[in-house]
């Protein structure tokens, strides 16, 4: 039966670091549309205004010089167009709402990709929208348009952040439409949590050497072979897709996971004191490295931080809980308190 499991093992090799490092654009599902109503629309002239100001001033002086009322009229017309274009810029943003709720995770130093959507609830198409997150992500290179009643999906590239929990509360939509002379912007409420895990660096898990070894076996039970297959159980979030019984799925049965006896035998205790590092960030980085390694081995592991302990478990959900604990560690009992662990 193990062979069956391996048949579907077409995922990348279980090199721990290689699997962990690629940016995982884990976007939490959007749960609500935050309303843009009441958000203040602001507008300011752009640098291009200065250029057309100079051109208009030159035209104005020439018109005086030639006493040409017709040229003068054109100067006034262009001035009026510039003024009216600011109203159009503001209108271009009115009634926009943001869909920007959720949580994005990533390692410190790696860019995060935050997917948001801007919804156009108006009856007119909107043009040249630049979506950015003040303090986090600059606007993309090309402004985009969105049809009436449609949504504009934008991937914000948040450059490498420091470890910790960051909250993105404002999404800025700006536009220079229609003439590039006036920039209008609108800050829409957003509720995106950016969980930045410590950068996983440090020694290999093997060097940890701290194994609560009940069966006397190493962490990687499956590699040892043998018929340790114990039976099926219902799949839970966080189970490795490699353990899903795909053949059962093909027979239209619910998603079942093959349970291996050998895996449960060893437990790694990833202990703060075991890192031997005095620098908080370095210690957290080492722990992060171990979490990823342990998860890649599909091992049971627990995490011990000063003032906090996460009981041993395995799976994707456990991995993220551990990484979250590392992300929000502040040198004392975590801000979220122990209650949040069970909530998550």
């Amino acid at each position: 039966m193990t062979a069956n499991a391996d048949e579907f093992d077409d995922l990348p090799p279980s090199n721990a670091v290689a699997e962990a490092l690629p940016v995982a654009p884990a976007v939490a599902p959007v749960t609500a549309v935050l309303d843009g109503r009441g958000a203040r629309l602001r507008a300011a002239p752009t640098a291009h205004c200065l250029i057309i100001g100079l051109v208009l001033a030159a035209m104005f002086m020439a018109a005086i010089n030639y006493r040409s009322n017709a040229a003068w009229m054109l100067v006034f017309l262009i001035t009026a167009v510039a003024a009216v274009s600011s109203l159009h810029a503001v209108r271009n943003l009115r009634g926009l709402g943001a869909l920007a709720v959720g949580e994005v995770t990533g390692f410190s130093g790696d860019p995060l990709r935050v997917s948001v959507a801007v919804r156009n609830r108006g009856a007119l198409p909107r043009y040249a929208l630049e979506v950015s997150a003040p303090g986090f992500a600059p606007a993309g290179a090309q402004a985009q348009a969105v049809a009436a009643g449609d949504s504009l999906s934008v991937d914000l590239a948040v450059p490498g952040l420091r470890r910790g929990i960051h909250r993105l509360t404002r999404l800025r939509v700006a536009t220079v439409y229609p003439l590039g002379l006036v920039r209008a912007w609108l800050d829409l409420p957003a509720a995106i949590t950016l969980v930045v895990w410590p950068k996983p660096i440090g020694r290999d898990l093997e060097q940890l050497g701290l194994i609560d070894d009940r069966s006397g076996e190493g962490g990687d039970a499956r590699a040892a072979g043998g018929d340790d297959f114990q039976g099926h159980r219902r799949m839970q979030t966080g189970d490795s897709p490699r353990h899903i019984d795909w053949k059962a799925v093909a027979r239209s049965r619910p998603l079942l996971v093959k349970d291996y006896a050998g895996e449960t035998t060893g437990t790694w205790w990833l202990d703060w004191s075991a890192t031997g590092l005095h620098d908080v960030e370095a210690a957290l980085s080492q722990l992060a490295r171990w979490v990823i390694d342990a998860h890649a081995r599909d091992a049971r592991y627990g995490l011990r931080l000063p003032g906090r302990e996460i009981p041993a478990d395995r799976g994707q959900r456990h991995r993220e809980r551990c990484l979250l604990a590392l992300a929000e560690y502040q040198g004392r009992p975590a801000v979220r308190g122990s209650g949040s662990e069970t909530n998550r």
Binding site: A32, A47, H48, I51, I52, V55, A58, M59, M61, A62, A63, I64, N65, Y66, R67, S68, N69, A70, A71, W72, M73, L74, V75, F76, L77, I78, T79, A80, V81, A83, V84, S85, L87, H88, V90, R91, R94, G122, A123, L124, P125, Y127, A128, Q142, A143, Q144, A145, V146, A147, A148, G149, D150, S151, L152, S153, V176, Y177, P178, L179, G180
Partner: protein, 679 residues
Amino acid sequence: MRLGLTTLLWLIAALTMATLPFLAVLPFWEVPAIIALMAWRIARERRAMPPAARWLRLALTIVLVAATVFGSGLTLGVESAAPTLIILLWIKLLEIKSARDVLVTCFAALFLVASVLLTNPSLGQTAYALVAVLVILAATVHFHRRAAPVSSGGTARWTRTSAGRAPWRWSLPLHGSLQLLIQSLPLALLLFVLVPRPSLNLSIHAGQAISGISDQLRPGDIARLVLSQEPAMRVEFPNRDMPALSDCYWRGVVLNRAEGDGLSWRRHVERVETETWPLVRDAAAARMVPVTYEVSQMASQQPWIYALETCEQPLAKIQRLTGLVQERSEGLGQSLRYTLTSRLDHLPADRPLDSFTRPKVDPRVLALARGWRETAKAADPARRGDHAMIIDLGLRHLINEGFVYSLEPGDQGDEPLATFLFERKRGFCGHYAAAFATLLRCADVPARVVVGYRGGEINSIGDFLMVRQSHAHAWAEAWLGPGRGWRRVDPTNLIARADGVPGPLPTTPGTAGATAADANQGWWDRTSHGWRHWKDYIDASWDHHILGYDADRQAALLDDIGLAGWGRVGLIALLAVGGGAVLAALALLLNRRRHAADPRQRLIDEAQRLWLRWCAAMAKRGVKRQAWEGPMDFARRLEATTRPVAGLPEVAAIYTRIRYGGEADRALVGRMRALVRQR
């Protein structure tokens, strides 16, 4: 930055609009060069090639700009800088890298368009400029719209096409820019009316105004003018007392020096300091009331001020010269407007200066003139040759000798006067006026030549008189003596009549031949004549209301609305208040609630409005919907409360079906409306 072909084409359209008015002043090679640059750029864009190499662009810039500057000369005027600016703009098209490049190109195009209006502010040119601004703005708008919306389908709606693909029409940016322009008109008008006109005067330029009458009279000069239909000036008679056209002599320049053998005349200027012109009552004329009239002179490079003969009082702050003429010393190349009063029953009475000096003429000419003098002396020895009699004899000679009016008198050789008088006997007003003045001088009668216009064209639509270059005319003036003044002698008038041409005098004494043709003009001529009147009328209104709007009229406007004496402060205050009001009104207009074009969406929108109304009503009764509560959740919670609300489950259910279930139909919305209204 990739522009995209459509954006590039819009930019090219914008630049073309800005270039077209300058076609006439561009060096001959510049148009092919521009077309080549354009084609090259389009080809590169189509093949998605990167911008041309830097050295190539640099070399092109240097070569083309140097060629333009050498071709047109480097001067300060806007007109002479235009070819250089134009070629620079087209080269700029090759290397557009950023949004700033695009905008700067468009702004420079706007500048070019406006600069045309400096020297040619006509209605037609202004209309063209408006269209050009429309196209340039459309290019700018299109640049900001170039990212076509990505539609996810479903509820997305563009105009009226099926959802999914955003329709792309080339004219969309034009809608945008037209909307912008139209919405800007009220504010632009306000600015035009209220921005205080500064009194700066920095004239450094020389425009391309019409040349008109010069300060010299050579045979042939006037013949060229006579063929031109260009307007010279427009005259309005506020009291509606326009004299007969044949009496309308518009005095412009007085020439008092004969040149060569006497068929050419030129001006010898002397300034005079006088408040009023010396006039004397013309005994021969019937008594007339002074005529007041308003003249709008078209832009001209000449300083002459034209006045109906004989003008009573010179304009203030204008240079007065001998011969009752005035000229301006500044503002050449610009149109001019002034009001004068003339007495047609009076004659100029200024002292003759060098009007006795006689040119070196052919002996035959001298003999002819001397003969008239002797005859006059013999007839009236007491007065040693009355001037009036000599004039009479001269005119009679012209009639008797069979002189003919002709615009093509032919070459007159080395001795033009003698050839004209004794051989050809053909000529036009210039010949007759110059020859007659010379003859009079030979007969010891002080004489001079006056050049100006005669008559005009009555525009019945606008009730004004249009004087064109074709009305240019020259006549002679002879000194009758102290107390009798200068008498106007217009030999051409006699010749034309002697020729037997019955034509209506009014129009052009110059084109007596043409008047014959006028008599039997066809429908086309009459129609085009009518059109021309309309055009003159529209041009006149444009000149009067728009081009003639100045500081005085601004003051008058303030007077009218009761802010007299506020001056600039009043104008600026009005501008602030009015501009704010206009912008506020526009903001309201732009942000009004819009109904969706799609009827389905309209129903959904209405359902949403009804639902919000319902929720507001519920909130008043103390049950507030939470932000996170969907309609069904809210309904469930309400039902669970102690005060269940009748109809709520149904309203919520209908709303859910319409909004989320895709069941937007009229009946459901109607039912929902009824339920909500019951409340």
